[in-house]
């Protein structure tokens, strides 16, 4: 306990440096957030280009496209472009289109007989909001068409009455209406939405906020652990000779690092929250983190960050190689795990690797709280990685002590 307290005191000595580094990084982060928010707003005011793929030969479709093009241009305009599916996939991943529909073969023929073959709709996580808007708009179009069509059904009833078919008109009207209701009800299955990439559900703002926050934590920990690199190991030998095992030494040092990190993060976390409240930086749909997300999401990520950073700095022989090595390893790992660049735009092989990186699991753990999904798997993975890095640190310390602390 005494060792933990003294180590904490030692770690807190670099707090001004940490706060300076963190403030600079946080400023960069805020600029990215503001730019992202502005881009999102611009997107909302711009035309949405949507790819249309598949069986689009019918003249009825051409009529439909014209209708969509004419929808309320003061708010937004959807521009459908016909293309093949391969081109659509490429354009979606490079953000040239916001989404694409795949019209299945024989769709129109089936629809004419009241059968539904679902249209598949593909979007990216960043275009989820756009997807909702498009679906709402399509629903409104379908609603209007159907309402007008039902007026036609009632008109037909009046026509039957006028021509002296009163005795059968009521029965025929019931039959028409039942057929009609069947058709409307089954139209609910008309569109199936699928989201490209493995981070389904998060918008670009949330996605970047979570990913860059994980990266920021790993970078701002550097001032806290850099004194660990190239330390005089004879101190550990003396500790061992006084009965303090390698496990207890590493545990106390890790605990002190974690405490300092948690203090720094929660002090700093207050700044963007306050700034967000004052200047509406995060926007109305900004980050909303619950107490459960802090306890089971943020804290495990901080445990992982401290055990990872501790291990890396324990491993390197001197401060220069430790700082540069740690920086490049962390940046590379954050990149391939999709923390600093959207994962869905990366090759599928990298996406699979992201599942097995500590930073990828950390990002997914925090994301799971924003998406209100079960955090169990990423939580266990994060804790497992933390335990692994801790065990490796104990191993390195033990190896050092077996050489007499040299």
């Amino acid at each position: 306990m005494k060792y933990y307290k003294l180590h904490l005191k030692k770690t807190f000595r670099v707090l001004p440096v940490l706060l300076t580094v963190a403030a600079v990084l946080l400023s960069v982060l805020l600029v990215i957030f503001v730019k992202t928010r502005d881009m999102s707003r611009e997107e909302n005011e711009n035309r949405f280009t949507i790819g249309v793929v598949g069986d689009t030969g019918g003249s009825f479709f051409q009529f439909g496209f014209e209708m969509i093009k004419s929808v309320d241009p003061s708010r937004f305009t959807i521009e459908p472009i016909l293309m093949d599916e391969e081109t659509a996939k490429k354009k979606l991943l490079t953000s040239e289109i916001k989404a694409y529909f795949v019209i299945p073969k024989g769709f129109m023929r089936a629809a004419n007989y009241g059968e539904i073959i679902p249209i598949r709709y593909y979007s990216t996580p960043s275009a989820v909001d756009v997807s909702t808007i498009i679906k709402d708009e399509i629903t409104k179009i379908v609603e209007t068409v159907l309402r007008e069509s039902q007026k036609g059904v009632f008109g037909l009833g009046y026509l039957l009455d006028d021509y002296g078919y009163e005795d059968i008109s009521e029965e025929q009207m019931d039959a028409f209406n039942i057929e009609y209701i069947d058709l409307i009800v089954s139209r609910n299955d008309m569109v199936k939405t699928e989201t490209a990439g493995i981070t389904s559900g998060l918008g670009l703002f949330e996605y970047l906020a979570v990913g860059i926050s994980v990266y920021l934590i790993l970078i701002m920990i550097i001032p806290l652990v850099c004194s660990n690199a190239g330390r005089d190991r004879s101190f550990f030998a003396v500790m061992k000779s006084k009965g303090v095992s390698a496990f207890r030494q590493v545990f106390a040092e890790n605990a002190a690092l974690f405490t300092a990190l948690i203090f720094a993060v929660f002090v700093l976390a207050g700044l963007p929250v306050a700034a967000s409240a004052l200047f509406d930086i995060a926007g109305s749909g900004g980050l909303k983190i619950s107490a459960a997300a802090i306890v089971f999401g943020v804290i495990p990520v901080l445990i992982l960050a401290s055990s990872f950073a501790y291990f890396m700095f324990e491993l390197f022989g001197n401060i220069i190689s430790a700082v540069t090595g740690y920086f490049f390893i962390t940046t590379g790992m954050c990149y391939i795990s999709g923390c600093i660049y959207p994962l869905y735009a990366m090759p599928s092989a990298l996406r699979k690797i992201a599942y097995f990186t500590p930073t990828g699991e950390a990002r997914m753990l925090i994301s799971s709280f924003l998406l209100e999904e079960s955090p169990t798997v990423p939580f266990l993975a994060v804790m497992l990685f933390s335990a692994l890095f801790f065990a490796l640190s104990v191993f390195v310390r033990n190896r050092c002590l077996k050489r007499g602390g040299a």
């Binding site: 003294l6 004194s227 004879s234 101190f235 030998a237 006084k242 009965g243 077996k402 007499g404």
Partner: protein, 223 residues
């Protein structure tokens, strides 16, 4: 108090560093361990301090084997390794506070052994800003917590100026006169003057050696 070191052996991979290290000492004695670089002097001290495990042998203190009794060894042995076993970012007081309880620390600083070592002069100085002599005195001060009867020192006066060496030497003499046992690994003839008996480690074994003050003779014996 009597200590007996019997047949200590240690192997690093295939390399046998120590084969049969045997000697004994009683209260108030200082034993000097000398030898060529890499002969196993520091390894011997780290085994006696409990940092490394010996492959065989005993370290008896009044008949009890300290190599198998960690609790007894922690109290009986103080260890000052070759490097700087201190927390660089903290001051002298904080470093001492790790090993002493507050009351004992205050007592030792006010006229006790820490005062004799002159630690009061730099109590609030951060280790990273201390001179080599200050660091060494502070290291010895830390090792003396709980008054260990056996003090193991690995080249305590290397790279220090003459005045500083003298200060440490004076303190170690005082420690001896109070009944402490010193085991000193050294290359320094000034340190050898402190020793009542010396041993050279040759081929992993301890060979008794009487230092007459002739450095050339010492070099011949070691090589």
């Amino acid at each position: 108090m009597v200590i007996d070191i019997e047949n200590i052996s240690k192997k690093y991979g295939k390399r046998q560093v120590l084969t049969d290290v045997t000697f004994s000492a009683k209260s108030g004695e200082c034993i000097g361990i000398i030898g060529a670089n890499g002969c196993g002097k520091s390894t011997l001290l780290s085994i006696l301090a409990g940092v490394q495990r010996a492959d065989g042998g005993k370290f008896l203190c009044d008949g009890k084997d300290l190599l198998t009794r960690d609790d007894l060894r922690n109290r009986a042995v103080g260890y000052v390794p070759q490097g700087t076993p201190l927390l660089d970012e903290l001051n002298a007081y904080d470093n001492l506070f790790l090993w002493y309880d507050k009351a004992t620390l205050e007592k030792e600083l006010a006229g006790g052994m820490l005062d004799t070592l002159g630690i009061n002069e730099f109590l609030k100085v951060r280790v990273s800003r201390m001179s080599g002599g200050m660091k060494k005195r502070l290291s010895i001060g830390c090792a003396l917590a709980h008054y260990p009867p056996v003090l193991l020192l690995d080249e305590p006066m290397s790279a220090l100026d003459i005045a500083c060496k003298q200060k440490i030497k004076d303190y170690l003499k005082e420690y001896k006169t109070k009944g402490g046992i010193l085991i000193l690994v050294t290359h320094d003839t000034l340190e050898l003057e402190l020793c009542d008996r010396c041993y050279i480690i040759k081929d992993g074994k301890t060979v008794p050696f009487k230092f007459s003050g002739d450095t050339e003779e010492l070099v011949r014996e070691i090589s």
